[in-house]
C-alpha cells in the first residue's frame, strides 16, 4: 500500500513536471539562442492567465485557452523587435536589468488594469473531477494539460531537429558568428523563438488560471521554479530541460510523501546536488559564447 502511494506521487510529479516544462523550455530556448536571461518570462505567463480569464467571460474557456497564448505570442514580437534585439551583443547585465525592469512594469500594469485583487475563472464541468487509471488517481484536467504538453513537446522537437529552421537555430546556439558568416540573419529566427517561448509561458498561465490564484505577482512566483528547472537541465539541451522538469516534479512529490514540510526545499537541494556533480547541468552542452 505504501509503495502504491509513493508511485502515485511519482506519477503525479511527472504530470506537474510537464506543466513546469511549458515555462522552463521557453526560458531555456531564449537564453540558448539569444544569450538573454529573460526575467520578464513570468510576466508573459501572468498575461496568458489574465487574457484567458478575460476572454473566458465572452468566448468560454476552450477558445480562450487557445487564443490567449497566440495573443501573447504576438506581444512577444514587439518584445523581441523593440527590446531584446538591442541586447543580443551587449553586456548580459544590461539585458538582465531591462528584463527585470520589464517584469516589474508588467506586474504593475496588470495591477492597474485588473486590480490587485485576484480574478477568477473555473474549469469547464466536463473536465472536473478525477479518473482512476490502474491504481492511480489523476485529475481529468491535468491529464488534458499533459496531453497538450506532450503534443507541443513533440512539435518543438521536430521543429528543431527535422527542419531547416531548426538547423539554423541549433547552429545559432553554438556558433552565431559562423551562421552570420554564411549570410544568414539570426534575427527573424530569434523573433520566432521568442514568440514560441512566451507563447508557451502564456499557455501555462492560461491552463493554470482555473486552478491557481490569478494575481499580479503570479509571474514572479513561477520564475523561481522555472529557473531551477533550466539550471538543473543544463543550457542548450532540449532533453536536459525536459528531464529536469519531470525530475523536479517527481522529487517534490516524493519529498512531500515522506516529509511534507520539506516539499518546497527539496527542489533546491536537488539543484545543489546536480550542480555539485555536473556544474553545466544534467545535459548542458558546452556553448562557447558563454564560457
Amino acid at each position: 500500500m505504501q509503495l502504491e502511494f509513493l508511485l502515485e506521487q511519482v506519477v503525479n510529479g511527472l504530470v506537474l513536471g510537464g506543466y513546469y516544462l511549458l515555462i522552463a523550455l521557453g526560458l531555456s530556448l531564449i537564453f540558448s539562442v539569444g544569450g538573454i536571461v529573460n526575467l520578464a518570462h513570468g510576466a508573459f505567463y501572468a498575461l496568458g492567465a489574465y487574457v484567458c480569464v478575460e476572454l473566458t467571460k465572452r468566448l468560454g474557456f476552450g477558445a480562450s485557452v487557445v487564443i490567449s497564448p497566440f495573443a501573447v505570442a504576438l506581444l512577444g514580437i514587439l518584445f523581441e523587435r523593440f527590446i531584446l534585439r538591442r541586447f543580443y551583443t551587449a553586456d548580459p547585465i544590461l539585458s538582465l536589468l531591462v528584463t527585470f525592469g520589464l517584469a516589474m512594469v508588467a506586474e504593475q500594469a496588470i495591477r492597474m488594469i485588473w486590480g490587485a485583487a485576484p480574478v477568477s475563472t473555473e474549469i469547464p464541468q466536463s473536465f472536473r473531477g478525477s479518473v482512476i487509471v490502474g491504481d492511480f488517481l489523476f485529475s481529468r484536467y491535468r491529464l488534458l494539460i499533459l496531453a497538450v504538453v506532450a503534443a507541443i513537446l513533440l512539435g518543438i522537437w521536430l521543429l528543431l531537429q527535422k527542419t531547416s529552421f531548426g538547423r539554423v537555430v541549433r547552429a545559432g546556439i553554438q556558433r552565431p558568428d559562423m551562421v552570420a558568416a554564411l549570410g544568414i540573419r539570426l534575427q527573424p529566427y530569434m523573433t520566432a523563438i521568442v514568440m514560441l517561448g512566451v507563447g508557451m509561458a502564456a499557455l501555462g498561465g492560461a491552463f493554470f488560471a482555473p486552478i491557481t490564484t490569478v494575481h499580479p505577482a503570479m509571474g514572479a512566483e513561477i520564475m523561481t521554479v522555472a529557473f531551477v528547472v533550466v539550471v538543473i537541465g543544463g543550457l542548450g539541451s532540449f532533453w536536459g530541460v525536459v528531464i529536469a522538469a519531470l525530475l523536479v516534479g517527481v522529487v517534490r512529490g516524493i519529498a512531500i510523501h515522506f516529509e511534507p514540510a520539506a516539499g518546497e526545499a527539496s527542489i533546491y537541494i536537488l539543484m545543489f546536488l546536480v550542480l555539485l556533480v555536473r556544474p553545466r547541468g544534467l545535459l548542458g552542452e558546452r556553448i562557447e559564447k558563454f564560457e
Binding site: I93, A116, I211, F227, P260
Partner: protein, 414 residues
C-alpha cells in the same frame, strides 16, 4: 562579443529573481503639525491580496476623519507601507517610530510579522493595533501591554465553524484530515482545532504542514485521498486557501471541505464555482447593520468594489483610535492604554458593541459562520456568501467564544 561565464550570468539572474520577491514600498510622507500614524500590512507575497484591501480600508478611514476635522484639531498623516516579512516589518516599525515620528502603529495580517512589530512597540513604549493577525499566542504567551488585537483569534474561528458543523452532525465521531499553514498562525490554529476535536469526540487522522509559498496542492490532495477522511479541514492562509479551494474543486473529491480560516478576499479569488463548505468570518459586506452599510456604500463609491473583511477591520480600528485620542485628548501611550483597559465600548457596525478585554487586549466582538450561495442566486461576483447565525447567540455573553485566562494565559508586564 562580450564574454560572460554561464554561471555568472545564471547566478545574477537568480539573484534578480530573488530580489523581485522583496517588493517595493509605497511611501506616502507628509508635513509637520499632523498626527502621524504608522501603518504596515503585507502588499506582496501570499497575504498581499488581502493586505491591499486592508490598505484601502485604513486610507478611507483617514480621509473621513480628516474631512471631519481630524483628531485634536490636527490632520492624520497616514504612513502606509508593505511589511514584506517579519524582519522587514520590525525594521520598518522601528523606523516609523524613531525617525518618522509615528505616535502609534497599526496594521498587519501575518501573525509572524505582527509578533515582531509587537516587540518593537513594547521596546519603544508605543501602542500597536494588530488589526488582522489571528494567532492565539499573540494574545496569550506573547502578549504585551502595548499591543491590542482587533481581529477574532483562532479559537473564536474554530468555535464559530465548529458549532455550525456540530449542528449539522459533522463533528462527533468523524475522521478529520487537516491541511495547515506552516508558520505561527497555522500551528496555532491547528492547536485550537485539536482541542476542539478532542472536546467534541472527533478524530484527527492526518495533518500536513504546508509552506506558505506552495501553489500546487496535488501531492497533498493525493495524501488526503489515501487517508480517506470524513471531512477535510483547511487551516491555511491567504493565497494558499484560494489555491487549495480551486484544486479541491478540480480533483472533485467526495469528502466535504470546511475550514477554520477564510478571508472574503480569498473566497472571491477562488470564484463562485469552486468554493463550498462552512467557514468562519469576522465580517461580511452584506451584514445588515446601518453603520456597516454606510461604510460599504462609502467604500464602494470610492473604490468601485465592495470592501473585504480586512478593509473593514482597518477602517473601524482607525476610527476607534481617533475616538480614543479625541476622548483622552492625548496620544500618550499610557493614557490610551488606560482608556482602552477601562473596556470602553465602540460601535464597529455590528449588533453588539465591541470592547478591548482588559487582561489580554483582545477586541471582543461578534463572529459568524458562513456557507456558500448557489451560483444562480448570486447578485454579482461578490455576493457569494450566506452569513449564518451570529456567534455567540444574542442572549449569550460575547466572551463565551473567546479563550479564557486558563486556556490562553497572558502575563502582561506593567
Amino acid at each position: 562579443m562580450i564574454r560572460t561565464s554561464r554561471r555568472t550570468l545564471l547566478r545574477t539572474g537568480a539573484a534578480f529573481a530573488g530580489a523581485s520577491a522583496l517588493g517595493f514600498p509605497s511611501i506616502a510622507r507628509a508635513q509637520a503639525e499632523k498626527i502621524r500614524i504608522g501603518h504596515l500590512t503585507p502588499l506582496t507575497g501570499f497575504l498581499g491580496v488581502i493586505g491591499s484591501y486592508a490598505q484601502l480600508g485604513v486610507k478611507l478611514a483617514a480621509e473621513e476623519i480628516n474631512a471631519s476635522g481630524g483628531v485634536l484639531g490636527k490632520q492624520i498623516d497616514l504612513l502606509s507601507e508593505d511589511s514584506i516579512n517579519p524582519a522587514t516589518a520590525a525594521t520598518k516599525a522601528q523606523r516609523m517610530l524613531e525617525q518618522d515620528g509615528a505616535v502609534v502603529l497599526l496594521g498587519e495580517i501575518s501573525s509572524a510579522s505582527s509578533l515582531t512589530i509587537m516587540q518593537v512597540a513594547e521596546r519603544n513604549k508605543k501602542v500597536f493595533f494588530s488589526t488582522g493577525a489571528r494567532s492565539d499566542a499573540l494574545r496569550g504567551k506573547n502578549c504585551n501591554k502595548y499591543s491590542f488585537h482587533c481581529d477574532i483569534p483562532n479559537t473564536v474561528m474554530v468555535n464559530a465553524v465548529g458549532t455550525a458543523l456540530s449542528q449539522k452532525g459533522m463533528v462527533k465521531g468523524k475522521k478529520f484530515f487537516t491541511l495547515t499553514a506552516d508558520y505561527i498562525f497555522g500551528h496555532d490554529l491547528l492547536k485550537a482545532a485539536k482541542s476542539f476535536f478532542g472536546a467534541h469526540e472527533a478524530n484527527l487522522i492526518g495533518d500536513e504542514l504546508i509552506a506558505t509559498d506552495v501553489t500546487d496542492f496535488s501531492p497533498y490532495l493525493l495524501k488526503v485521498r489515501q487517508a480517506k477522511p470524513d471531512v477535510v479541514c483547511c487551516n491555511l492562509a491567504g493565497n494558499q486557501v484560494t489555491n487549495l479551494v480551486k484544486q479541491y474543486a478540480e480533483f472533485g473529491f467526495p469528502y466535504p471541505l470546511v475550514g477554520f480560516n477564510l478571508n472574503t478576499g480569498d473566497a472571491w479569488a477562488a470564484g463562485a464555482g469552486n468554493l463550498s463548505g462552512t467557514w468562519p468570518t469576522v465580517w461580511y459586506h452584506t451584514l445588515n447593520n446601518p453603520a456597516s452599510q454606510a461604510f460599504v456604500a462609502a467604500f464602494t463609491r470610492k473604490y468601485g468594489k465592495p470592501p473585504e473583511n480586512h478593509a473593514w477591520i482597518e477602517y473601524v480600528t482607525l476610527k476607534l483610535l481617533a475616538e480614543a485620542i479625541n476622548t483622552t485628548k492625548s496620544t500618550d501611550s499610557n493614557e490610551l492604554i488606560a482608556y482602552f483597559e477601562k473596556q470602553a465600548q465602540f460601535d464597529i457596525g455590528k449588533a453588539r458593541k465591541a470592547y478591548f478585554r482588559s487582561w489580554d487586549h483582545q477586541l471582543v466582538q461578534e463572529a459568524y459562520p458562513f456557507t456558500v450561495k448557489p451560483k444562480d442566486q448570486m447578485k454579482d461576483q461578490w455576493d457569494m456568501l450566506v452569513l449564518g447565525d451570529v456567534v455567540p447567540a444574542a442572549n449569550d455573553p460575547l466572551e463565551t467564544i473567546y479563550p479564557t485566562k486558563e486556556q490562553n494565559p497572558c502575563g502582561m508586564k506593567a
